[in-house]
């Protein structure tokens, strides 16, 4: 699809800011998301092409502004809900529960 991910040749997207001595993961959630993707992929829930396509289906502004591993979160949530492994309702309920516990 002709989505926002197809970036080759685009202008105006800003400077290449290479962080010196960048850590592999910046946040704990990135670590966990990395692991979750590999584990669910290895578990056969989706293939790599489906995974990429689900990222491409993100809202373009969200895609361009979000940190990298948020793409993986979006994709895994989308595919696991579409396959029926989890439901959107129980995911939202779990988020709400954790939000409450964090307060």
């Amino acid at each position: 699809m002709n989505g926002a991910h197809d970036l080759g040749g685009m202008h105006g997207l800003g400077s290449i800011d290479a962080e010196p001595n960048e850590p592999v993961f910046h946040e704990e959630w990135e670590r966990r998301m990395f692991g979750l993707f590999i584990a669910t992929f290895a578990g056969g829930h989706f293939n790599v092409d489906e995974f990429r396509h689900a990222i491409e289906r993100m809202d373009p502004a969200h895609y361009l502004e979000s940190p990298y591993y948020e793409h993986w979160l979006h994709s895994c949530e989308t595919l696991l809900v579409e396959s029926g492994a989890i439901s959107r309702k129980e995911l939202d309920a779990r988020v709400a529960k954790l939000e409450k516990e964090a307060k």
Binding site: M1, G9, I38, A42, G43, E50
Partner: protein
């Protein structure tokens, strides 16, 4: 569905999951052949970037037979076919602003190209 266990991780990491396909499929293109990239604009998943559609290039090397993402992303099967490293000049892609000696290589499946 299988669940990945900690003691399986090392093997998984070292083995990976190649997208090469076992299928015996004849290549459509020969090394050195001139091609034109198809101008396709599908709504479905593709690994054919917009910047190369309709452009002319040269097939440089046959990398073998691989699963085709355009079908595999949509439950439509592997449709295994050859993938080639194809060479494009910067001028062909971007016009006279490009340096004469800028070259771009992309890996293109049989279904992404036509002979010139």
């Amino acid at each position: 569905m299988p669940v990945l266990k900690a003691d399986m991780v090392e093997t998984l990491v070292k083995t990976g999951a190649s997208c090469r396909a076992d299928a015996k499929v004849a290549p459509r293109f020969r090394c050195g052949e001139r091609i034109v990239v198809r101008n396709i604009n599908p709504l479905h998943h593709t690994r054919l970037p917009r910047y190369v559609r309709g452009k002319r290039g040269t097939v440089e090397r046959d990398r073998g037979v691989f699963v085709f993402p355009d079908t595999n992303a949509h439950g439509q099967g592997h449709k295994a076919q050859h993938v080639y490293s194809v060479r494009f000049t910067g001028r062909e892609l971007w016009g006279p602003q490009a340096s004469e000696r800028d070259i771009l290589y992309l890996d293109l499946w049989d279904d992404y190209m036509d002979p010139v």
